[in-house]
């Protein structure tokens, strides 16, 4: 279980790993916080949508892969943290020095 809140953890994950698909973020968040199911998968995707709309993430790619979205034809996004996102993380004490 991470000590940081979920949205902060997601930002740190993207800062550490570079670009990630939304389902990869969801898998990581759910295993880190010991969660499972559609609800949390949707919650993570919704949080990514918030971050994208707020201009902290860039949408780099979109695709369809029903195997990755619980058998439903759903659009999947690959996101990357941008400079504004990094700036917000720094201001919010979310930037890790080394890890």
């Amino acid at each position: 279980m991470a000590e940081i809140h979920m949205k902060g953890y997601m930002l740190q994950l993207l800062a550490r790993n570079g670009d990630m698909w939304d389902y990869e973020v969801a898998d990581d968040v759910m295993s880190t916080y010991g969660l499972s199911g559609d609800y949390w998968y949707g919650t993570v995707r919704l949080t990514l949508t918030d971050l994208y709309a707020g201009g902290l993430l860039d949408e780099l790619e979109a695709t369809i892969d029903p195997e990755k979205s619980l058998g439903v034809e759903k659009v999947l996004f690959r996101y990357g943290l941008n400079d504004f996102g990094r700036e917000r993380m720094q201001q919010s004490g979310l930037m890790e020095v080394t890890r």
């Binding site: 902060g8 707020g54 400079d83």
Partner: protein
């Protein structure tokens, strides 16, 4: 990928982004409906003991009601966050001082706004107070644009102004009578009105900043945690000094009346979930647009009060209501790619930048 597959992805993508924007508007509208509904228990409670007998001591009655309201909202939000499974995240977010500290000024600004609107009611009148409060999106949109480059396009600015004017028109019948009858206490009332405009506007802008790095459901709960803390630690002691033991006797008789409990429950539910929706809309469509749509609470409040009191609204209501609806359409029909990312932030590879550089024919609608 084949052309057909690419087209399918592009179609699903644009549907997804449309849904994102539509939900932003749905949340803001939900806020307006609930905020309007809040006025029903909000008015009814003044007709209950002990408040009904406190005409000469309106400010004390309003103070006690406002504190009870804030506590009821916080309890409703604790239940909400627990149901969503986010209680752990509430604690974790609170432990991030560089994030949670923003909710203190947000709570303070919101608290000054609601208190200002009560002062405006007391010293000028209810219609003036309503009009003043409705102007807040202008401050919110301006602050969000200046502070973190929220995209307030010309069309968005027009939409905000039209919605706000609609709200002002609705309350004109009472407004002029109040101006002429305000008397010597008027100035204090106008200060209260200004507190409402600036307070709610700034609260939204501060919340927009804090929500960049925290969850809306958790954020709003932290904001009310701050507000309740300020009421109890700062405002209640001051009121105790000013009002003496009458404060506690009022609280005592209020809590002895079961109808007050019911009304406070309704206040907490309507105000609590109106605020949840308000905060959920900000990350999706921005503070300026979210606040403007939420300002439709003015017309909704009159609709709700008309339903419960069976008093028909005036013709000004029709004109103002139509204006407010027209303003909402001006906001909603803005190009989707403008609304998709609500900030004009520097980013080397953002979609918005790519579009600005592309030819007009390539811009998605």
């Amino acid at each position: 990928m084949t052309d057909a597959a690419t087209a399918r992805v592009s179609q699903l993508r644009s549907e997804h982004r449309s849904r994102q924007v539509r939900w932003g508007f749905i949340w803001a509208l939900t806020c307006a409906v609930l905020w309007g509904a809040w006025y029903v228990p909000g008015f009814a409670i003044y007709y209950e003991a002990p408040f009904v007998a406190m005409v000469d001591n309106f400010l004390l009655a309003a103070f006690v009601i406002t504190v009870l309201n804030a506590i009821a909202v916080l309890i409703a939000l604790f239940v909400w966050v627990a149901v969503l499974g986010k209680t752990g995240d509430y604690v974790r977010t609170m432990r991030q001082p560089k994030i949670s500290r923003w909710y203190l000024p947000a709570g303070l600004a919101g608290m000054l706004a609601i208190f200002g609107s009560i002062i405006a009611i007391a010293y000028v009148g209810a219609a003036f107070s309503a009009v003043a409060a409705l102007l807040y999106p202008i401050v919110g949109a301006w602050a969000a644009k200046v502070w973190y480059s929220e995209r307030i396009t010309k069309q968005a600015a027009l939409g905000i102004i039209v919605i706000v004017s609609g709200g002002v028109v609705i309350f004109t019948p009472g407004l002029f009578a109040e101006f002429t009858g305000a008397g010597t206490g008027g100035l204090l009332g106008y200060v209260g009105g200004a507190m409402a405009i600036v307070g709610w506007g700034l609260e939204g802008a501060i919340a927009g900043r804090a929500l960049d790095v925290s969850d809306p459901d958790v954020g709003i709960t932290l904001r009310f945690t701050s507000e309740v803390a300020i009421w109890i630690l700062v405002a209640v002691p001051i009121a105790w000094v000013l009002a003496g033991n009458e404060l506690w006797s009022t609280v005592g008789s209020a809590l002895a009346n079961p109808v007050v409990w019911l009304l406070v429950l309704l206040l907490g539910l309507t105000f609590g979930f109106c605020y949840v929706s308000w905060y959920k809309s900000f990350p999706l469509i921005g503070v300026g647009r979210g606040q403007a749509i939420a300002a439709l609470y003015g017309p909704f409040a009159l609709v709700w009060l008309a339903i419960f009191t069976l008093v028909t609204p005036s013709w000004q209501f029709m004109v103002g209501g139509l204006l407010a609806v027209a303003g909402s359409f001006i906001l909603f029909t803005e190009r989707r790619d403008v609304l998709e990312v609500i900030r004009a932030v520097p980013s080397g590879r953002s979609r918005a930048n790519q579009e600005e550089q592309s030819t007009p024919g390539q811009v998605r609608r």
